[in-house]
């Protein structure tokens, strides 16, 4: 990926989209292949080191810390020494991007609505200092269409700041404005191209409709 690029991975359930993200972020060790960031080989590094280098992963289903307040959840995203020192500045920055998160900062995460949780999860990912690439796993999962629109409006805001985005989605509906799409099937890239090329292709329709 080029810096600041917006790339999406699509594919049906259970075909390895999430595994790609988990491998890139250090939760899983690849049996073969290489993960690199800005030319540096980060394969097999512990997750916290990878996050420190600016590659953060927002897991599917937001995965907030339920018994912690929104503010504490954000502080947890600023764990590295540098990020911790800059946590107040970064929190303000994040609150400007997500005014709805700011309104809830004293609330326990478990009391939030689905859309708010997703926003806090993305905000937590941005609390690491110098985020270069934000990977978001199915930001639309389990949300109502109206809420998804709001989430994608916020994702568009993040894109304007120059941070690279790697999104995983099942439905191509929300990612029509990205730079590139990869279609994953059985853990392999089946197809890649601009959204227009991929979405108009017959193969994609088959992958989705099982035809």
């Amino acid at each position: 990926m080029k810096s600041g690029e917006y790339v999406a991975i699509i594919g049906a359930n259970g075909h390895g989209k999430t595994t790609i993200l988990r491998t890139a972020s250090g939760l899983l060790k690849p049996s073969a292949g290489k993960v690199s960031l800005d030319g540096e080989d980060i394969t097999g590094m512990p997750a916290y080191k990878i996050a420190e280098k600016g590659l953060t992963h927002v897991p599917e289903g937001s995965r907030l810390f339920p018994q912690m307040t929104v503010q504490e959840n954000l502080m947890a995203g600023a764990f590295s020494k540098i990020a911790w020192r800059a946590r107040r500045k970064n929190m303000e920055r994040v609150f400007r991007l997500f005014p709805n998160v700011s309104d809830r900062k004293g609330q326990l995460a478990l009391t939030l609505s689905g859309g708010e949780r997703q926003a806090v999860a993305i905000a937590r990912g941005l609390m690491a200092e110098n985020v270069k690439l934000l990977m978001i796993d199915e930001p639309s999962a389990g949300l109502a269409p109206l809420i998804i629109e709001e989430v994608y409006r916020q994702i568009a805001e993040i894109r304007k700041t120059g941070i690279g985005l790697l999104l995983v989605e099942q439905s191509p509906k929300w990612i029509a404005d990205c730079d590139r799409i990869y279609l994953i099937e059985n853990g392999e890239v089946r197809m890649q191209g601009t959204p227009k090329e991929v979405l108009e292709s017959e193969q994609v329709m088959r992958a989705y409709l099982g035809g």
Partner: protein
């Protein structure tokens, strides 16, 4: 009229004892909820911390005619407790790094770590016996003597109605230190980098890893801080009674009761349960023999578990 002297003094001593239980049990909760290790060496850290304070504090002249070692420094207790707590912090963090961490990567870590900490407890107990002998030791204690009447109003009618509570200097120190440390611990857990990290790891390990938290270091700090709390409780409790190599087992048992009773992993539950158990124990031993206190604590725990299987404050795991 009800005799208030039967009601208030056990309540007061229960509150003081409960604060010490809370100190001990919080250490266990911290270690369990972040690392998922049932630390059977917790009582041994309680004991070891107390021995270190004793070694630094007791003047050689107090041991005339025995071969027991002291540092000869006869540091004041308030000073002696600092290195003791730091050493036990290091011992706890080192245990996590050297003993627990390798086991966590293998099958059935809950059992293997349990047995490993049990072994560590036995080793520490043997070392203490080797150095200090198996007998009971006492602190040559500058805070053990002296007491205050509470409220400090002499023999006025109000005072007598309150039962004219007696609180010893040692109890005052216990209460102040325990409550102070518990409050400090809350601030640590809510504000500090490692406190937040510990809570995050306890609530969702994967998400904590992705949030950029260095979980291995968090584990070490959690084990260190947990052990440090045991050491502090050890000094505060044994300083007014006695010290022996096996002195940590009863507090360990009580801490386990408290943790299960309050709801495993719950901070508020642990603190609340500490006071309930301690106060119950005090009232029971007022009417029955002292040894019944622990039995009743067990009964109380079983009753709560029948009614609320996750303990008083236990929350459902999501």
């Amino acid at each position: 009229m009800v005799d208030t002297s039967l009601i208030l003094p056990p309540l007061l001593s229960g509150i003081i004892l409960g604060s010490l239980y809370a100190l001990m049990a919080m250490g266990l909760t911290l270690i369990y909820s972040t690392i998922r290790v049932l630390n059977f060496a917790h009582g041994a850290f309680f004991m070891a911390g107390a021995y270190i304070v004793w070694w630094l504090n007791t003047p050689a002249s107090a041991l005339y005619g025995t071969s027991l070692p002291t540092s000869g420094l006869s540091l004041p207790l308030a000073v002696a407790v600092v290195p003791a707590v730091l050493i036990i912090f290091g011992l706890g963090a080192g245990t996590q790094r050297a003993v627990i961490r390798p086991l966590l990567k293998r099958p059935s870590p809950l059992i293997t770590t349990l047995v490993a900490t049990l072994a560590l407890a036995t080793i520490l107990e043997s070392i203490a016996t080797l150095i200090f002998g198996g007998g009971r030791l006492q602190f040559a204690n500058e805070i053990a003597s002296g007491s205050n009447r509470f409220p400090p109003c002499g023999s006025s009618p109000l005072c007598r109605a309150l039962g004219g509570l007696i609180i010893t200097n040692a109890q005052l120190v216990q209460l102040a230190v325990a409550v102070g440390v518990l409050v400090g611990l809350q601030v640590f857990l809510k504000r500090s980098r490692y406190g937040i990290g510990m809570r995050a790891v306890a609530q969702d390990l994967d998400a904590a890893n992705l949030a950029g938290i260095n979980t291995e270091t968090v584990y070490m700090i959690a084990f260190g801080v947990g052990s440090l709390l045991a050491a502090l409780a050890g000094f505060l409790l044994t300083n007014i009674v006695f010290l022996s190599p096996s002195v940590g087992w009863t507090p360990l048992t009580i801490a386990f009761i408290v943790v299960v009773f309050g709801g495993i992993g719950s901070v508020q539950g642990t603190i609340f349960a500490s006071y309930i158990i301690a106060i119950t124990q005090q009232y029971v031993s007022l009417f029955l023999d002292t040894s019944w206190g622990l039995t009743f604590a067990f009964l109380l725990m079983m009753l709560v578990l029948i009614l609320r299987p996750r303990g008083l404050f236990g929350f459902k795991e999501v």
